[in-house]
Symmetry: C2
Subunit: 326 residues, 2 copies
C-alpha cells in the first residue's frame, strides 16, 4: 500500500540503507545521490513508518499524560503547557482523562506503557500506584503533578502550595473581620482537598467549627444543601472559602447574589467581571504542566538523581468578594 524505504531505494536505484541515511539526515551521502533519493521520495509520496523505527530504536518519542478531565480549564491549561514542552522536545503527546476514576487512570497508564511511551505525567485519581512499579523499574520515568502518588512510590512531584494558599485565604478573611468562615471542599480523599482543609483549619485555630465545613464531591444540589444548612445555624457564616474552581462557581450560583465574604481556590475566567469581583487563590496550571514536563525530559535525558519535589507558589488575588466586611 504505502511505499517503503525499499520501494524508494528501488526507484532511486540505490540501496535501502542509503535511503535511510537521506531520510535521517545522516552525513556521508553524495549530494547527487541524496538528491536522487529525495526526488524518489517526493514522487512516491513516501513517509517514514514510525512504528518500525520505534521497534528498532526502542524509543517512541511519545509522552503519556493522564489528567482528570481535559474539559476542566485547570487541566486544559496544564495539558497545553505539557504539549508545548513536548513539541519542542520533538515528541508527541498521548493523553487521556481519568474522570477521577482510579481504574481508568490505571487502564490509561497501562495502555500508554504498552505503547512504550518514553515517560509519563500523571495526575493521579487513585492512591495505589504499586502497578507502576514494573514500569518504573523498566526505565519509564513518571512525574506526578497536582497530587502525589500513593505510598511506596518515590517519583518526582510538582504540587501547588495547597495548605499555604488555604491559610492565606482564611487569614485574609480573618483580617477583614470575619470570624465565622465556612469551607466547601471536595471529598477529602482527594489530596488537594485534604491539604486545603488542613490549611483552613490551621488558620482558624480556635475558631474552627466542624459545622461550617462540608467536604464532598460537589454537585449543584449538595452545594445548595450544605450552604442552606450552614446559613440556618444560630451563628451562620459571614464568609465562605471554596476548595476549587468548580465549587466556587457552583457556590456563586447557589448564593444567588447573597452578599457574603468569598474566596475561592483556583482562578477562573470572568472572576473579575462579577460584582463584586471574586477574590481567589490562583494556581498556575500552565506552570505546573511546564515544570512537570521539563522535569520529565530531564529524566529522559539521563538525569538519575534523587526524586525531586517541586512546590509551586499560589497567589491571592483580591477582587472584592474577599474584602467584604461581615
Amino acid at each position: 500500500m504505502r511505499p517503503t524505504m525499499k520501494d524508494v531505494a528501488l526507484a532511486a536505484g540505490v540501496a535501502l540503507k542509503t535511503v535511510s541515511r537521506v531520510v535521517n539526515g545522516e552525513p556521508g551521502v553524495n549530494p547527487a545521490t541524496a538528491e536522487r533519493v529525495r526526488e524518489a521520495i517526493e514522487r512516491l509520496g513516501y513517509s517514514r513508518n514510525e512504528s518500525a523505527r520505534v521497534l528498532r530504536r526502542g524509543r517512541t518519542a511519545t509522552v503519556g499524560l493522564v489528567i482528570e478531565d481535559v474539559a476542566d480549564p485547570f487541566y486544559a491549561g496544564l495539558s497545553r503547557a505539557v504539549e508545548e514542552v513536548t513539541i519542542v522536545e520533538g515528541c508527541l503527546l498521548l493523553s487521556g482523562s481519568s474522570g477521577e476514576k482510579p481504574a481508568r487512570e490505571r487502564e490509561l497508564v497501562r495502555t500508554f506503557c504498552a505503547r512504550r511511551v518514553d515517560g509519563l505525567i500523571v495526575v493521579p485519581a487513585g492512591d495505589d500506584h504499586s502497578y507502576l512499579r514494573p514500569e518504573l523499574d523498566a526505565g519509564t520515568p513518571a512525574v506526578f503533578a497536582d497530587r502525589p502518588p500513593g505510598p511506596g512510590l518515590d517519583v518526582d512531584t510538582v504540587l501547588s502550595d495547597n495548605a499555604g494558599g488555604a491559610m492565606e485565604a482564611v487569614g485574609h478573611l480573618l483580617a477583614h473581620g470575619h470570624r465565622r468562615i465556612a469551607m466547601l471542599g471536595d471529598h477529602p480523599s482527594i489530596f488537594t482537598a485534604a491539604e486545603r482543609l488542613a490549611g483552613y483549619r490551621s488558620a482558624l485555630g480556635q475558631l474552627f467549627d466542624p459545622r461550617l465545613v462540608a467536604m464532598r464531591a460537589p454537585t449543584p444540589e449538595t452545594v445548595r444543601t450544605d450552604l442552606e444548612r450552614m446559613l440556618a445555624l444560630d451563628s451562620p457564616p459571614t464568609a465562605l472559602f471554596t476548595g476549587n474552581g468548580r465549587l466556587t462557581v457552583t457556590a456563586l450560583r447557589a448564593l444567588g447574589g447573597r452578599r457574603m465574604g468569598l474566596i475561592g481556590f483556583d482562578d477562573f475566567e470572568l472572576a473579575d467581571l462579577l460584582s463584586p469581583g471574586v477574590t481567589v487563590v490562583a494556581q498556575d496550571p500552565a506552570g505546573m504542566g511546564r515544570v512537570a514536563a521539563e522535569l520529565l525530559f530531564r529524566r529522559l535525558s539521563g538525569d538519575g538523581g534523587p526524586s525531586e519535589h517541586v512546590q509551586l507558589p499560589v497567589r491571592l488575588i483580591p477582587r472584592g468578594s474577599g474584602e467584604l466586611s461581615p
Copy 2:
C-alpha cells in the same frame, strides 16, 4: 530490558506462538497450558509491545486530533468528547494544538500520519489541505470539524450552523428594537468568522453599516479601540454581536459595565451570573466532537459511502443582555 514473548515462552516452556495465542485470547489453547503461560506473564511482568504489533498488523488503534488550542473551552469540550468515543472503540488519542498556525497544523498531521494513525479529526487552521491528498489516498480517513477543508478535498465535515446562528442573534436584537447593531468578529479568513459575518449581514439587510463592523484577530487593545471608534460615531450602536466566546468576554471587559444590547456567539461559563446575564448563541462542542468521532469510526469500519456533511444546530439562550431595549 523488558521481557518479550520469547522470554515468556521460554519461562513457560512453550513456543512463542502459544504465548501470542494466550495474550490475544485466541481459541485453541489447552487451559492448563494457558494457565502456565499466564503465570509466567505475571511473574515476568510482561506486557505486549504495541509497536511490534502495529508494525505487523498495520493498524495502530490510534486516532489523531488536531485542534486550535486545548486550553480554549470550546476545543477542550470537543477533545473530551472525541476522547470518550475513541476509548469506547478501544483506540488511543494523539492530539495537538495548531495555535491557528497552518504550518503547525500541517506538521501535526504529518507527524500523526508518520505514526500511522488510523484516522484523523482536524480543526483546520489553514485553507490548503492538498498535503492531505496522499494520506487520504493511502487509506487514512479524515473528518474535518468546526471548519471545512480547503478547496479540492472531499472529506466528511461537521460544522455548526454559523450563519443561521448569527442571523438568529441579530434578528433577536432587531426584534428588541435595536437598529444600530455592531459586530466584532475574528479575522474573516477564518471560516466560522466569515460565516457569522454573512449571517449578520443578511439579517441586517438595509440596516447594514460597514462602520459598525470590525473583523480581526482579537486582543484586549483592538477590541477596545474598535468599540471606542464605533461608540464615537454620530449614531453609535445600541447593541453588539460578538463573533466568538473570547471576543464576548473581551468586549464585556472593554465595555466595563456600560449598558448595551449584547449577544455573543458561543456559550461560556458564568454567562448566567453576570448582570445582566449574557444572551448567547450556544454551540455544542461535545456534540461536534462526538459526531466527528463517530463518523470517523464508521469510515474505519469500512463505510466507503460519499462524504457526509453534518450541520449542527445552534441555540439562542436569552439571559438578559440580548433583551435590553436600545
